[in-house]
């Protein structure tokens, strides 16, 4: 039990310090790299919270693909150096005050007795997949330990049964985003060409 507390404290410290550094630093490349550190720390949390598939997707898609896209655009635009703050003088104090207010409100909400009392763990015994033989090892392990693990097999099973319609909708969204990005960034065609 003590090891996970130590792990939590270290990872939380890394995540918070990196997040603060991300919004403070004046170099956009440093910001992107610090965001990668936050995402990797969160991936380890996901691993500890019984989500190996989500943890791997977090590292591969988020820290890998999305942040590479960010770095690519930062370097393509040559916008590494962020200029000095201009305009509103009260902007940073106002942002800090509003952030503190948000933190207080969310903290009150989180630690109010109402929300903690409403959470009741469900038994993992009735865990089923669409095909009885599918993911047999994962299901047996879950029934033995009583703790649901988000293995690739089980997440995939859930995606293609319970969440099939959202899955298809999201795939169309991705296609639309891809077409939109291509249309937005292409060069305007010459007249008559």
């Amino acid at each position: 039990m003590a090891t996970d507390i130590i792990l939590f404290v270290i990872l939380a410290a890394i995540a918070i310090v990196s997040a603060i550094g991300m919004i403070v630093t004046r170099n956009a490349v440093h910001s992107a790299l610090l965001l990668v550190v936050v995402m990797c720390a969160l991936a380890i949390f996901f691993l500890g919270l019984g989500g190996p598939f989500i943890a791997m997707v977090q590292v591969a898609v988020y820290a890998g693909a999305i942040m590479v896209l960010f770095l690519f655009v930062v370097m393509l635009l040559g916008a590494e150096r962020v200029g000095a703050q201009s305009g509103l003088k009260w902007q940073i104090p106002a942002a800090l005050a509003l952030g503190a207010a948000l933190l207080v409100v969310s903290g009150l909400l989180l630690f109010s007795t109402q929300t903690t009392a409403a959470v009741e763990p469900q038994p993992a015994a009735g865990f089923e997949t669409i095909l009885p033989e599918a993911c047999a090892e994962d299901v047996a392990e879950i029934q033995a330990s009583g703790v649901v693990q988000g293995t690739p097999c089980l997440v995939g099973d859930s995606l293609f049964t319970t969440y099939l319609v959202p899955f298809e909708v999201v795939s169309i969204l991705l296609l639309a985003a891809m077409v939109g990005a291509v249309v937005l960034t292409r060069r305007p065609r010459e007249q008559g060409a």
């Binding site: 991300m22 500890g48 919270l49 896209l69 635009l77 969310s106 903290g107 630690f111 969204l173 960034t185």
Partner: protein
């Protein structure tokens, strides 16, 4: 890693999620660079994902993790379109400062 890890730490994980979300909000409110604002939005999405996975673990259900998957897909779509917009704006304005982008027509 054992299956019971982080068992007593759910309130602290949710607190960490709230703190990271707040840092993302502060980043959006305080910075003027469109790229940094975008990264802060990603930070907020990640904080929400941490809350999702924590609740999924607490309720012993898989649905929260499936939802995190959808959040990641939507984030990827959002980043693709958003960065395309930033590059297009940069071509005409030569700047990523949101204060410079105040006109409706380029």
């Amino acid at each position: 890693m054992s299956s019971q890890s982080f068992a007593l730490l759910y309130p602290y994980l949710l607190g960490l999620s709230a703190l990271i979300f707040t840092l993302g909000v502060i980043g959006v409110l305080a910075r003027r660079n469109a790229l940094i604002i975008f990264m802060s939005v990603e930070l907020m999405l990640n904080a929400a994902n941490l809350a999702f996975v924590t609740f999924a673990r607490q309720l012993n259900q898989l649905d929260g993790q499936v939802f995190v998957f959808f959040v990641m897909v939507v984030a990827a779509a959002e980043v693709a379109v958003g960065l395309a917009l930033i590059t297009t704006i940069f071509k005409t304005k030569k700047s990523t400062n949101v204060d410079d982008i105040s006109a409706m027509r380029g």
